[in-house]
Every structure is written in structure tokens, then in C-alpha cells.
């Protein structure tokens, strides 16, 4: 087995890969995370505020989604909603799948706000809405935001799953290039490095954010 590296191939394949990275991987992560963050918060609030006959079913569905592999959900959605293209389905499924994790993060963030805060707000006759807005959510976000960030990074690394519903994201692009000229090593290494280049600094920034948020 000889190891050889072709810089020519590397530079040849780089533009296509960066293009796939921006058009698909990054787009899917950003939009998917936005969906997850919003849906997750809605689910967390439903579980907390809605009557049991709404909250329990919602909780049940989200638990099911959380505990089944995202690939299965991608395939299921793709073949059920055939009128939509792979990328759209992929973004929505990733969003909802990760919403199930983020809902748990929100829930524990909200539960971590001391009961005394709720009572002090009640003692001042603050309305429930005002209490959420001015007292509970600001405090819950402090622990929640860093944890949400790690799930975003996780979604980012899961975008290659979109391959199964025929979305040409970055890893697929690498694979296609390799299949073309049998030079697999360069494109796939490049893919890995691009992922690393994006996620590592993000993780560092998140740590710094976590430290900053931790002190009042």
C-alpha cells in the first residue's frame, strides 16, 4: 500500500467542495439550527404551560424523534413528502430532530432558575408573561445558550447524512470526485479539514461565551 498525495488534485477539487460547503452544509446548519432553536423553545413551553392532553402527546412525539436515528427520519420524510426536494426535506428534518434535543436543554435551563425567582416576581404581582420575559428566560438563557451551541455543532457534523436523500453536500462532492478519478484521499481529507476548520473555532468561541455568561 503506497501513500501518495497529489496537491494538484487537492486544489482542483477545493472550489467545488467549498461551494458545496457553503451552498448545502452551512445553509442546512444555519437554517436547521434556527428551526431547531424555535421549535425546541415552543415544545419546552408547551410541556410547561399547556394542559396535559396537549403536553403529553407533544412530549411523546418529541421523545420518539429524539430516540430514533436521524437517517431513518430523513428517509421517511423524503419518501412521504415526495413533492419537496432533498435539501428542503433535509433541513426540516434536521431542524425537528435537533429541536427534540434543544427542547430538553431549554427545559433544564428553565427548571434551573430557582423557585425563589418565580416567588419574588409573584410577590411583586408581576404577570406570568412579564415574569417569563424579564426574569426567567434571561436567566435560563445563560446556561441554555452554550448547550444549544454544542447541538448546533453536532447538527453541522450530521449534515453528511443528507447524502441518503440524494443531496450533494460536501462529503458527497468529495466522494463523487474520488469516484471520478480514483483519487479519494485528497477530497475526503479536505472535507475533514474543512469540517475541523469550522467546528473547532466555533467550539472555542462557545467556551468563551459560556464563561462570559456564567458570571453576572
Amino acid at each position: 500500500m503506497t501513500f501518495s498525495w497529489s496537491w494538484d488534485t487537492t486544489f482542483d477539487v477545493l472550489p467545488d467542495m467549498l461551494s458545496a460547503f457553503l451552498r448545502v452544509t452551512l445553509l442546512a446548519t444555519v437554517v436547521g439550527s434556527a428551526i431547531a432553536a424555535v421549535v425546541g423553545l415552543v415544545v419546552a413551553m408547551i410541556r410547561r404551560l399547556a394542559p396535559w392532553w396537549i403536553a403529553y402527546p407533544v412530549h411523546g412525539v418529541m421523545e420518539f424523534i429524539r430516540m430514533t436515528p436521524v437517517v431513518i427520519q430523513l428517509l421517511f420524510a423524503y419518501y412521504t413528502f415526495q413533492q419537496f426536494d432533498g435539501l428542503t426535506i433535509g433541513i426540516v428534518v434536521l431542524g425537528i430532530h435537533y429541536a427534540s434535543y434543544m427542547a430538553e436543554v431549554y427545559r433544564s435551563g428553565i427548571d434551573a432558575v430557582p423557585k425563589g425567582q418565580w416567588e419574588a416576581a409573584a410577590a411583586l404581582s408581576m404577570s406570568p408573561r412579564r415574569t417569563w420575559q424579564r426574569v426567567v428566560i434571561p436567566q435560563a438563557l445563560r446556561t441554555t445558550v452554550p448547550a444549544l451551541g454544542t447541538w448546533v455543532i453536532s447538527m453541522f457534523k450530521d449534515t453528511p447524512f443528507l447524502i441518503v436523500i440524494f443531496v450533494t453536500e460536501m462529503v458527497q462532492t468529495a466522494y463523487a470526485s474520488g469516484a471520478d478519478d480514483f483519487m479519494f484521499l485528497e477530497p475526503i481529507t479536505l472535507a475533514g479539514l474543512i469540517f475541523l476548520a469550522a467546528s473547532y473555532p466555533t467550539a472555542l468561541l462557545l467556551r468563551r461565551l459560556e464563561v462570559r455568561l456564567a458570571r453576572y
Binding site: 430557582p114 411583586l124 436567566q139
Partner: protein, 253 residues
């Protein structure tokens, strides 16, 4: 007319009945201290007045009007949350754990409710807040964050926050119990000042007997959810009639 009246109040937590058939009154401007062993129901009473706990039986009247429950058509019914909220603005509470909002400055802690619950203009609320903070000796901490303050300072801010709502009734739940001994004095001084310069009705749960003696008109001794003795402090502390009271006072004095 008494400012506060408990009528046949019953409070149950699941199977555990903490208060049963409790009846008592507090007059306007009175300072009443509740003493007794833990679990005797003193804190529960404060929490019921502040509507932090659900009243399982009986009625509480504030200024003659029913607070959380009333009789309608011969049945005991819950009042609407909005109506209750309108009455609770007349009640203020200070907690053992201070419970200041850490995501706001001291000034914001004091102005949040007056602006958004009472509808006061921002400038007015801020001026009043500064006045109160000056009064409790924390005028220079206006823009500080609560977590930067000592326990005694936080509790003084908490008192100022409750006073900013201009309450008729102030509930004080063991407000010095969580403080280091050397910080207790500064908080008691503030409360003494409130007692002397205002006519706010005060319901105090405390173990600070000296303070209770100085400030109260009446002391109520609780045991197992019942008032077993109700006397002015001088009499209560020097000449308790009830055996249980004697035991309790001996143990803590």
C-alpha cells in the same frame, strides 16, 4: 376593619394538614410577630397571604374584601387571577433568600414592578427607587448587580424593592435567618426604621426575639398549625401562660 382576616383557614399539602380552622385578625398598622417551632405553620401563613400557596379551605380577607376565594351562590369559589393580582399589589414580601433578580441592576430590580405592574412613569419610579435606596443606606449601589453585594446589602435591597410598591401589608419571612451574624443588625435597623416611619402593617416570622420585642404590638405563638398564645411582647416573653410557649421560649432565649 382589620386589614387582614383569616376565617376558618385550612391548608393541606396532600395528606399533611398544616393549618386547620385558623381564625385571626390583624389591624391596620399593627406589627405582629409569629413565633413557634419549624413546621408550626408560620411561614405557610405568610405564603398564603402572598398567594404563593393555594388556600385549601376557608377565606382570607384583605381590607374587608375576599382575597383568593369567595362565596358565590352559596359555594366557595376561586376568584379570577386578575382580580387577585389587583389585590396582591397591596401586599409585599421579603424572603429569607432575598431573591433579587440577578440579571438586572439594583435600580432595575426596584423599578420593574412599579413601572410594569402599577403603571408608574419611568422617571417617577426611578426617583422613588433612588430615595428608597438612599434610605436603606445603599444610594451608591444603584447600578450594581445584586451578586456583587453582601447578603445584608441584598436583603436591604429586597426590602426596598418590596417598599417600592407602596404596600399596605409587608410580610417578612425569616429575613435575617440566612445572614451572617454581623450583617443581621443592618437589616434589622432598616426594618425598625420602616416600623417607626411608616404605618405599614407588618407580619413578621423571625427568631430575633429582641427585635420582635422592640417592634411588635403582638406576638403569636404557633404550634402545629394553631395559635396557642396571643399577647403583647412584654407579656409574652416575661410571662407566657402556655406550657408549650414556655418550653419554646426557654429553648431559644
Amino acid at each position: 376593619m382589620p386589614v387582614l382576616r383569616f376565617e376558618d383557614v385550612n391548608k393541606r399539602f396532600g395528606d399533611n394538614t398544616v393549618l386547620d380552622g385558623l381564625n385571626f385578625e390583624v389591624g391596620k398598622g399593627e406589627r405582629v410577630t409569629l413565633i413557634g417551632p419549624s413546621g408550626s405553620g408560620k411561614t405557610t401563613i405568610l405564603r398564603l397571604v402572598m398567594t404563593l400557596e393555594h388556600l385549601t379551605g376557608g377565606f382570607i380577607y384583605l381590607d374587608g374584601g375576599p382575597l383568593t376565594h369567595e362565596m358565590r351562590g352559596g359555594r366557595r369559589v376561586e376568584r379570577k387571577k386578575k382580580d387577585v393580582a389587583r389585590m396582591t399589589t397591596k401586599i409585599g414580601m421579603v424572603f429569607q433568600q432575598f431573591n433579587l433578580f440577578p440579571n438586572m441592576t439594583v435600580l432595575e430590580n426596584l423599578t420593574e414592578a412599579p413601572i410594569n405592574v402599577l403603571g408608574r412613569p419611568k422617571a417617577e419610579a426611578q426617583e422613588r427607587a433612588r430615595e428608597l435606596l438612599d434610605h436603606v443606606g445603599l444610594g451608591d449601589k444603584v447600578d450594581a448587580h445584586p451578586t456583587r453585594l453582601s447578603g445584608g446589602q441584598q436583603q436591604r435591597v429586597a426590602i426596598a424593592r418590596a417598599l417600592a410598591m407602596d404596600p399596605e401589608v409587608l410580610l417578612l419571612d425569616e429575613v435575617t435567618s440566612a445572614l451572617d451574624p454581623e450583617l443581621v443588625g443592618e437589616v434589622l435597623n432598616v426594618l425598625r426604621d420602616v416600623a417607626e416611619t411608616t404605618d405599614i402593617t407588618m407580619l413578621i416570622v423571625t427568631h430575633e426575639m429582641q427585635f420582635a420585642q422592640e417592634v411588635s404590638h403582638r406576638v403569636l405563638m404557633f404550634d402545629q398549625g394553631r395559635i396557642i398564645e396571643d399577647k403583647p411582647p412584654a407579656e409574652m416573653f416575661s410571662n407566657p401562660e402556655n406550657e408549650r410557649t414556655q418550653e419554646f421560649l426557654q429553648a431559644i432565649l
